[in-house]
């Protein structure tokens, strides 16, 4: 017994140590930091001074922060609904027995494995370009002059352009997860329903959808985690100074801690830490809500 304990420790120690170094220690320090006035991220502890919930009051008093939370909520809600509906539609189509399923599946998933910086560049510099852009050329060719004249990366459309570009790449990933759920449903159930005269729509709403509770929960969780971390796309769509339309909590925090930019006049790492804590709390609350909505009654076949 003594010997196996030694082996367990030997095998686990490096992994646990790495976990302590990069997750436990930083999280504790960030939480503590959020209750202190800390100017620079590199300030040692003796230069911190306790100031209670002052940092939290600071960020909630900042228009930029409030806007960033509002933006991320919009991304989560509008983007979430569109991505999930399209992903579900594609998953249903791909599992309906069409030919070339493997090809289509891989092609739809493809954008997800490409660097977001490259994808965002493609959208900003090509698709949305006002002079030779894809949308501009397409709408001009179709004779839709008003649509062709839209300034996609102008202040009015910036948020939606960013959301469309981001969502486009996320569809494939969530589609794969829906497909895994649909493929686990035994074919006999569908056959029986078809024999009983159920239409395609009936089968979808009466069989497929209720049985997809488990994967839907997974999808919502994964969508929430990736939305909370929303950063690159925002950074790419307004690279120099964060625009009000695209700012997210990650961007806000990045600016408060490291920003050389003008939007946040002084570095305030205490406020940055408070932003992190609030974002983590939001994620936890979303998890609890999702767990409550999709209660544990997963079906076994």
């Amino acid at each position: 017994m003594k010997k196996s304990a030694k082996i367990i420790i030997l095998f686990l120690a490096p992994a646990i140590f790495s976990y302590m170094l990069v997750f436990v220690y930083p999280m504790i320090r960030t939480i503590v930091m959020s209750f202190f006035a800390v100017r620079n991220v590199t300030d040692p502890i003796y230069r911190w001074s306790f100031n209670g919930i002052e940092n939290y009051l600071t960020i909630f008093g900042s228009d930029l922060f409030i806007q960033s939370v509002f933006n991320v909520a919009k991304i989560w809600f509008y983007g979430g609904i569109s991505v999930m509906l399209i992903a579900l539609l594609f998953a249903v189509i791909l599992t309906s027995g069409i030919r070339g399923k493997r090809f289509f599946r891989a092609s739809i998933y493809l954008p997800n494995i490409v660097s977001a910086v490259a994808m965002a560049t493609m959208w900003i510099q090509y698709v949305y370009n006002a002079r030779f852009g894809f949308l501009n050329e397409m709408f001009t060719a179709l004779g839709m002059i008003e649509l062709a004249a839209i300034e996609w990366t102008g202040p009015g459309m910036l948020f939606w352009s960013m959301l469309i570009a981001y969502s486009f790449g996320m569809v494939g990933y969530h589609m794969l997860i829906f497909m895994s759920g649909i493929e686990k449903i035994p074919a006999e159930i569908f056959e029986a329903a078809t024999i009983d005269g159920a239409s395609i729509l009936n089968r979808f709403f009466m069989i497929t959808l209720p049985l997809l509770k488990g994967v839907s929960k997974t999808n919502v969780m994964l969508w929430s985690v990736s939305t909370a971390a929303f950063f690159i796309w925002s950074q790419m769509f307004s690279p120099l100074v964060p625009a009000l339309q695209t700012v997210t909590p990650m961007i806000y925090m990045f600016q408060t801690i490291f920003g050389a930019d003008l939007s946040v006049s002084v570095h305030d790492s205490g406020a940055g830490a408070a932003t992190g804590v609030i974002l983590t709390l939001i994620i936890i609350v979303i998890f609890l809500i999702v767990n409550f909505v999709f209660k544990k009654d997963e079906v076994e076949y």
Binding site: I16, S18, T30, G97, I98, Q235, M250, V277
Partner: protein, 289 residues
């Protein structure tokens, strides 16, 4: 996994027609994806003048490889590329060396905190990066490591360990314990048993998780922006980001699209080779909420 419809099945007109709307929707989406990619690749071989004239697919000036030569040398893309390779390959290798023994111990041994440690690793998957960067940046400064590739590499490794442990665990649980018993009979110690017998047996899982780690680390941007933002240390993603800001002003659009292609080609190649493996493990319950 595979649908029961094989290429050889008889062509059923009524069925294919009922599937028509599905074919149309999917084909349009995929055609759009390929068109955009094809445009970017063509643009990377044309000239800025052709791009602005909307004549990207005509190749009037032939294939302009010099776009690639230019960004590769003048804009330091070669250095960024090598950096990306160093970060990604080191992370993939060391992560496995740390995570595989841990996954094995958690899968095989019964002990008091086993479940707790497993949950701890799962919890890490939901921790936002924002919670950990400040203390890590402080540590890097105190240790005088802000100007070294080591910092980002260590962070990448530590951040990849939880997912890798979580992913490998079922692979080790599914190996029959008769292998260990036989090794024990032959007088093989537990460490040797692990590296010589169990590790090779878990290879399918190890390969798949390494593909995932490769793609994730290659495309990582946020940590790199904070911990490797010196020209010398930048990986491709951050390099491309800074380059785009400057190319926009110099007006070298063809060069910019060449840089975009250089960034996505490695993951694209990995995906073309391993797409079935990657997709099977996303759909096969490898990732759960």
């Amino acid at each position: 996994m595979n649908s029961s419809k094989k290429i050889g099945t008889k062509f059923n007109w009524t069925k294919e027609i009922s599937l028509m709307p599905g074919y149309v929707i999917i084909t349009l989406w995929v055609a759009l994806t390929f068109f955009l990619l094809a445009w970017i690749i063509s643009a990377s071989f044309s000239t800025t003048r052709e791009i602005f004239g909307g004549r990207v697919f005509e190749f009037e000036t032939g294939l302009n490889f010099n776009n690639y030569v230019k960004v590769w040398t003048a804009h330091m893309v070669s250095a960024y590329f090598v950096n990306s390779l160093i970060y990604t390959v080191t992370t993939c290798v060391v992560t496995i060396l740390i995570a595989a023994p841990a996954a094995y111990a958690l899968a095989r041994f019964k002990f008091k905190f086993n479940k707790l440690i497993q949950n701890m690793f799962i919890a890490a998957l939901g921790i936002p990066a924002i919670m950990i960067i400040m203390p890590l940046f402080y540590l890097a400064t105190v240790l005088d490591l802000t100007n070294s590739r080591l910092t980002l590499t260590v962070i990448y490794i530590c951040m990849s360990v939880p997912f890798t442990v979580y992913f490998l665990l079922p692979f080790f649980s599914n190996i029959s314990s008769s292998y260990e018993e036989a090794a024990y009979m032959d007088g093989c110690g537990p460490i040797k048993t692990f590296w010589n017998i169990m590790f090779p047996l878990a290879q399918p899982g190890i390969i798949t998780v390494t593909i995932f780690n490769f793609i994730i680390i290659w495309n990582e941007f946020f940590m790199a922006l904070i911990f490797a933002n010196h020209t010398r240390l930048r990986p491709l993603g951050v390099g491309l980001y800074t380059m785009i800001q400057s190319l926009r002003y110099t007006g070298d659009w063809a060069g910019m699209f060449a840089a975009v292609v250089i960034v996505f080609v490695p993951t694209l190649v990995v995906f073309l080779i391993f797409s079935e493996k990657i997709i099977a493990s996303v759909t096969g319950g490898g990732i759960k909420g």
